[in-house]
């Protein structure tokens, strides 16, 4: 099966890859582009560890083919910081201890960033529903919710 040439934008840079037709966007990001911040957890859309933004909206990159990304705009966790300046969410996750092993953290950060961009003044319940597609097995979620709430309350 011939590989497919796919041109798209990743973290504001144009990229071009050769993808297998059955390769997921997640695998293309990790293997072709070496953007290993995007993690594979369940591989079937339950855990959200592979969350990236597609045209500004959070999606599971394990449930999308790389070939479908042609012409699209993708943001991974590597695209959240501005140079050395962390995204306020990244800083808040550090400050609030909102991670333990850290495997789910990239997915939470991307989900939370997409959510706050569209909902700058969320309630706690809004936040909990927005991150319902991201599973964490060690923090117990409260610190994650508090970190996101803090960023929202400080207007970032």
């Amino acid at each position: 099966m011939p590989k497919i040439r796919v041109s798209f934008i990743v973290n504001q840079e144009p990229v071009e890859i050769l993808a297998e037709p059955w390769q997921t966007l997640m695998d293309a990001l990790r293997e072709n582009l070496r953007l290993t911040g995007t993690k594979e957890g369940c591989g079937n859309g339950n855990c959200g560890a592979c969350t990236v933004m597609l045209n500004g909206k959070a999606i599971d990159s394990c449930c999308m083919l790389a070939a479908e990304a042609e012409g699209q705009n993708v943001t991974t966790v590597e695209g959240l910081a501005n140079g050395e300046q962390l995204d306020p969410l990244q800083q808040a996750f550090i400050d609030f201890g909102a991670l333990q092993c850290g495997f789910c953290t990239p997915g939470f950060l991307v989900s939370a960033r997409a959510f706050l961009n569209e909902n700058p003044n969320p309630s706690e319940q809004d936040i909990r529903f927005a991150i319902a597609g991201n599973l964490c097995r060690c923090t117990g979620y409260d610190k994650i919710v508090r970190a996101i709430q803090h960023v929202a309350d400080s207007g970032h």
């Binding site: 099966m1 037709p21 599971d60 449930c63 999308m64 479908e68 597609g133």
Partner: protein, 294 residues
């Protein structure tokens, strides 16, 4: 994942030329959100030779109200975009509620209502809502289009009437009846991100300024091999002045249309009780929306 080739036609004509070469069931599979399909290919439940992305075709992205016809909802319109459409929020409340229950935000941003229908799971959250709104399904292929009622679309778990060389173009939701409201509830053991143990959508239309039911539609998910209408309960409600007793009797009658199995999600008895509770609750939600609380 099993190897397949990928194609992304940009016009209906181009898509039909690809479909014209298809002879074997399952040989080609359309992809919209991919949130069911990719997992099914990974686990070997489906093994298409060709995966065809239909999102580049303008007609698949149609979300348009046509006077006299209703709402055209194209195959590629995401749950998120469907739920955000003002007319869906105003006139098709149960559809909006279903959109917010299918998987997570990440899933809703990719998955479409048509994909949920075409995947044909008995637990599909959008189907009861489509049934109470009397949706029709438009299939398209090399031999043209055909339109069939959603009620006649399903043939079994994961199966429907579409031919190997047909794809769903869109569903059409007719204009809702006057002075009507619809709601969908499902029961899951968690708060989010689960598959319905049972799901119920209802639609009620009342005579103006009264509690006289002029039309009732009730549809059930996850309590049979395919989603079903609870027609005996609908007939029972129509023409009656709704009271607490009538609502409770209708909910009990709806259970007669359920033929659930016992599985890991729930027992037969539990699911039947859920149908009763969810039917009663959605009927009360409709009355509430119509300012006719009991």
């Amino acid at each position: 994942m099993k190897a397949f080739s990928f194609t992304a036609p940009t016009t209906i004509k181009e898509m039909n030329e690809i479909l014209a070469n298809v002879t074997t069931p399952g040989e080609i599979h359309p992809i919209v959100g991919g949130t069911d399909l990719i997992e099914q290919v990974k686990t070997g439940r489906r093994s298409p030779s060709i995966v065809m992305d239909i999102k580049q075709i303008p007609e698949m992205n149609r979300l348009e109200w046509v006077s006299g016809e209703g709402l055209h909802l194209g195959a590629a319109v995401s749950c998120t975009d469907t739920a955000a459409f003002p007319l869906v929020q105003e006139s098709y409340e149960s559809i909006k509620e279903s959109c917010g229950l299918i998987g997570s935000v990440q899933i809703q941003n990719r998955a479409s209502i048509v994909g949920n229908i075409a995947n044909s799971a008995p637990s599909a959250d959008s189907v009861p809502s489509g049934l109470v709104h009397e949706a029709s399904v438009v299939l398209i292929g090399p031999s043209g289009t055909r339109t069939i009622p959603l009620e006649d679309f399903f043939t079994g778990p994961g199966r429907n009437v579409s031919k190997p060389n047909e794809v769903v173009l869109e569903i059409i939701l007719p204009p809702p009846p006057n002075n009507s409201s619809s709601h969908y509830l499902r029961f899951i053991p968690r708060n989010e991100m689960d598959i319905a143990v049972a799901g119920v959508a209802t639609l009620l239309s009342l005579a103006p300024g009264s509690r006289t039911c002029t039309k009732a539609r009730i549809a059930l998910a996850s309590v049979g091999p395919i989603p079903v209408r609870a027609k005996a309960a609908e007939t029972f409600l129509e023409g009656k002045d709704l009271t607490n007793d009538i609502i409770e009797k209708a909910a009990e009658t709806a259970v007669e249309s359920a033929s659930p199995i016992t599985d890991v999600r729930g027992s037969i008895e539990y699911r039947k009780n859920l149908v009763k509770v969810l039917t009663e609750n959605t009927l009360r939600m409709c009355l509430n929306s119509l300012n006719q609380n009991l």
